[in-house]
C-alpha cells in the first residue's frame, strides 16, 4: 500500500511552504537553476512515495539516497542568492551594509520567536532570555554595542545553553524513579550532576551545549552496560516465577477451573494440567542454568537485584507477597519428577485461581 497522501503532506508540506516563501522572496529569479533543482527534488520525493510500500520504506529510501540534502542544498543556495541580491553582496563579518537594519532584523527575529513560544511548555524558561535580547536591542545601543552586550552579559551563551534544560534532565530522573528503574534513574541523576558541574564552572552558570553533549556521551556510555544487564534480568525473572507458580497451581484442586489450564474440553484441560506438572520442573532447571551461565545469578539472587521491585510491580498476580514467598520456597523442590511440598501446596491452594 503506497504512502497515504496525508502522510506525504506531513513530511513534505513544510518544505513546500519554505519553497513557496522563497519563491515569494524572489528565489526563482535570483537563482533559477537552484530553485528549479529544489522543486524537482521535492517532486521526486513525492514520486518515490508512490513507489514505496509504506511510510517506513519511503523514509528509509529518502534517507539512504540523500533526498533531504538534494532539496536543502539548492534551496539554501537559492536563499543565499536572494540575500545577496537584496543586500548587493555580503558585506563580510562585522561590516554589514546598515547597522540599524541589521539590529532591527535581529530584534524582529527574537520578537517573532517570543510570539511563537506562546503556550510552549518551555515558554517560562525560554522567553525571559529572549525578552532580554529584545529589550537590549530597543534600548538605543548601536549594533556593535548591542552585540558586545550580548557577549558581556552572557546572553549569547545563555541562548546556546537553552538547548539543554536542567528541568528536563530532572524530569527524566523522576520518571525513572516513578518506574522503579534504578539504572536509568542513576544515569539521569548523573546527567543532572554533569550539568551542575558544567554550570558551576561557568561564571554565569551557563552550560555550553557541546560540553554537555560530550558529558552525556560519557555518562550514557558508562551506564549502557548496567542498563543492558538490568533489562536482561527484568525480562528473565518473571519467566522463572511464572513456571514455578504455574507448576504448583497445576497441583491444586481448582486447577481444572483456572483459565491457564482450560482447554476446549475436559480431556484437553487434563492434558494441560499434566503437561505443566510434568514439564515445568525441567523448564525451571534449564532457565536457571541459562541465567547462571549468562550472568552468574542463582534464583535467590534475583530477588536482591535492584530492578526486582519493578519486576514485582509489573508482575501482576504472580508477584503478590504470598506467591513470591511460595516461589522462593518452592524452587529447590521443583525438579523433574518431583511434586510440590504439601505445606506450599496448601498455601497455593488457599490463594485460588488467577481468574
Amino acid at each position: 500500500m503506497p504512502v497515504p497522501p496525508d502522510q506525504i503532506a506531513t513530511m513534505l508540506g513544510p518544505m513546500r511552504d519554505q519553497l513557496a516563501q522563497a519563491e515569494a522572496d524572489g528565489a526563482a529569479d535570483a537563482a533559477p537553476t537552484d530553485f528549479a533543482d529544489a522543486r524537482a527534488a521535492l517532486d521526486q520525493m513525492e514520486a518515490l512515495a508512490a513507489e514505496s510500500a509504506d511510510m517506513g520504506e519511503w523514509s528509509q529510501v529518502l534517507a539512504r539516497d540523500g533526498w533531504w540534502q538534494r532539496f536543502t542544498d539548492p534551496y539554501t543556495r537559492a536563499l543565499v542568492a536572494v540575500g545577496e541580491k537584496k543586500y548587493g553582496g555580503a558585506g563580510g563579518a562585522g561590516a554589514p551594509p546598515d547597522d540599524a537594519t541589521m539590529l532591527a532584523n535581529m530584534v524582529g527575529v527574537f520578537e517573532q520567536s517570543i510570539t511563537q513560544l506562546a503556550g510552549n511548555p518551555d515558554e517560562a524558561h525560554l522567553v525571559p532570555v529572549l525578552r532580554e535580547v529584545v529589550d537590549l536591542g530597543k534600548s538605543g545601543l548601536s549594533f556593535p554595542r548591542f552585540l558586545r552586550e550580548l557577549e558581556l552579559r552572557g546572553i549569547n551563551q545563555q541562548m546556546l545553553g537553552l538547548s539543554v534544560q536542567r528541568h528536563h534532565l530532572e524530569a527524566q530522573a523522576q520518571q525513572a524513579r516513578d518506574l522503579l528503574d534504578p539504572a536509568r534513574e542513576q544515569m539521569a541523576t548523573a546527567l543532572v550532576a554533569a550539568y551542575d558541574g558544567l554550570a558551576g564552572r561557568n561564571e554565569l552558570g551557563v552550560v555550553d551545549p557541546l560540553e554537555f553533549e560530550l558529558a552525556r556521551l560519557r555518562v550514557e556510555h558508562e551506564w549502557a552496560p548496567v542498563i543492558a544487564r538490568q533489562d536482561y534480568v527484568a525480562e528473565r525473572t518473571p519467566l522463572v516465577v511464572f513456571l514455578l507458580i504455574d507448576w504448583i497451581d497445576a497441583h491444586t484442586s481448582w486447577a481444572p477451573k483456572d483459565e491457564r489450564f482450560l482447554g476446549d474440553n475436559a480431556a484437553q484441560t487434563k492434558e494441560n494440567i499434566e503437561r505443566t506438572q510434568q514439564c515445568n520442573p525441567g523448564f525451571v532447571r534449564v532457565r536457571l542454568d541459562l541465567l547462571s551461565e549468562a550472568i552468574g545469578l542463582d534464583f535467590p539472587a534475583l530477588f536482591d537485584e535492584p530492578i526486582f521491585p519493578q519486576v514485582r510491580k509489573n508482575g501482576g498476580p504472580y508477584f503478590s507477597d504470598e506467591r513470591v514467598d511460595i516461589a522462593r520456597a518452592l524452587e529447590p523442590a521443583c525438579t523433574p519428577g518431583a511434586s510440590p511440598p504439601d505445606d506450599l501446596l496448601a498455601r497455593a491452594a488457599a490463594i485460588g485461581p488467577n481468574s
Binding site: G56, Q69, A93, G94, S142, E151, R218, A228
Partner: protein
C-alpha cells in the same frame, strides 16, 4: 579610528576573550584573534571589512568552530572506543578542509553526517538484531535441554521446529523492508567489538553459545 570602528573592535575583543584558554575551542580562538587583528590593525572600518573579505576570515571562523566541535566529539568517541561513531567526525573535518564557502561547508558536513548515520545504523543492527533474538533463542534452549517425560518430547520438538521456521520467515520479511541498508548482513564477529560487547550483558561463554545457535538458525 571612528566611534563605530572602535565599537566593533570592542565587540571582537569580547568575542575573542570568550575562547581564550578553552581546551575545546582552540582553533576558534585563533580565527577570532585573526578577526580582531583585522579590526584593530586597520585605520578605517572599510579597511577592516576588506581584510575580512580578502582573508575570508568569517568563513575561516565558522569552519574553525566546526572543526573544534567535531574534534571534541572525535576525542570522546576514541576515548570510549566507539570506532564507528568516530568515523563521521574524522570525515567532517576532512570534508571541510580548504573549503572557502560556508554554504558549501554546510552541504559537505550534512552529506557526511547523513552517510555516517546510515553507517551507524548498519553497525547498531548487528547488536540490535542479535539481542532481539536472545530471548527466543533461550526459550528454544529451554525446550531442547529440559528433562521432560518422553510423552511430551515430540510436542516440544515440534514447537522448536515451528519457532525456528517462524524466525526464518520473520527475518526474511524484516530484511526485505530494510531499505535504508538493503544489503546489510549480520556479522556475528562484530558482537565481540567493545562498542557492542559491553552492551550485551551475558558472559563470554553464553555469548559464544548463543552466537553458534544464531548462526545455525540462519535468522541473521
Amino acid at each position: 579610528m571612528d566611534e563605530r570602528h572602535r565599537e566593533y573592535v570592542e565587540y571582537y575583543r569580547v568575542r575573542t576573550a570568550k575562547y581564550d584558554g578553552s581546551t575545546i575551542y582552540q582553533e576558534s580562538a585563533r580565527t577570532e584573534h585573526a578577526l580582531l587583528d583585522a579590526f584593530e590593525q586597520s585605520a578605517t572600518l572599510e579597511e577592516a571589512a576588506e581584510k575580512v573579505t580578502a582573508g575570508n576570515l568569517a568563513t575561516a571562523n565558522a569552519i574553525a568552530l566546526l572543526n573544534d566541535q567535531w574534534r571534541a566529539r572525535l576525542e570522546v568517541y576514541e576515548e570510549l572506543e566507539e570506532t564507528v561513531k568516530a568515523e563521521a567526525p574524522r570525515q567532517v573535518m576532512a570534508a571541510v578542509e580548504g573549503v572557502t564557502d560556508v554554504v558549501d561547508a554546510t552541504s559537505r558536513v550534512n552529506r557526511v553526517l547523513a552517510a555516517g548515520a546510515i553507517a551507524e545504523t548498519a553497525d547498531e543492527l548487528h547488536r540490535v538484531e542479535f539481542v532481539g533474538d536472545l530471548a527466543v533463542m533461550e526459550q528454544l534452549e529451554v525446550y531442547r535441554r529440559a528433562e521432560i517425560p518422553d510423552r511430551w518430547r515430540s510436542l516440544y520438538d515440534a514447537e522448536i521446529a515451528r519457532t525456528e521456521q517462524d524466525g526464518r520467515e520473520v527475518a526474511a520479511e524484516v530484511a526485505a523492508k530494510r531499505a535504508l541498508v538493503p544489503d546489510w548482513k549480520l556479522d556475528h564477529d562484530e558482537l565481540w567489538e567493545t562498542r557492542h560487547r559491553r552492551r550485551i550483558p551475558i558472559s563470554d561463554d553464553a555469548l559464544r553459545a548463543r552466537i553458534e545457535q544464531h548462526r545455525a538458525l540462519e535468522w541473521g
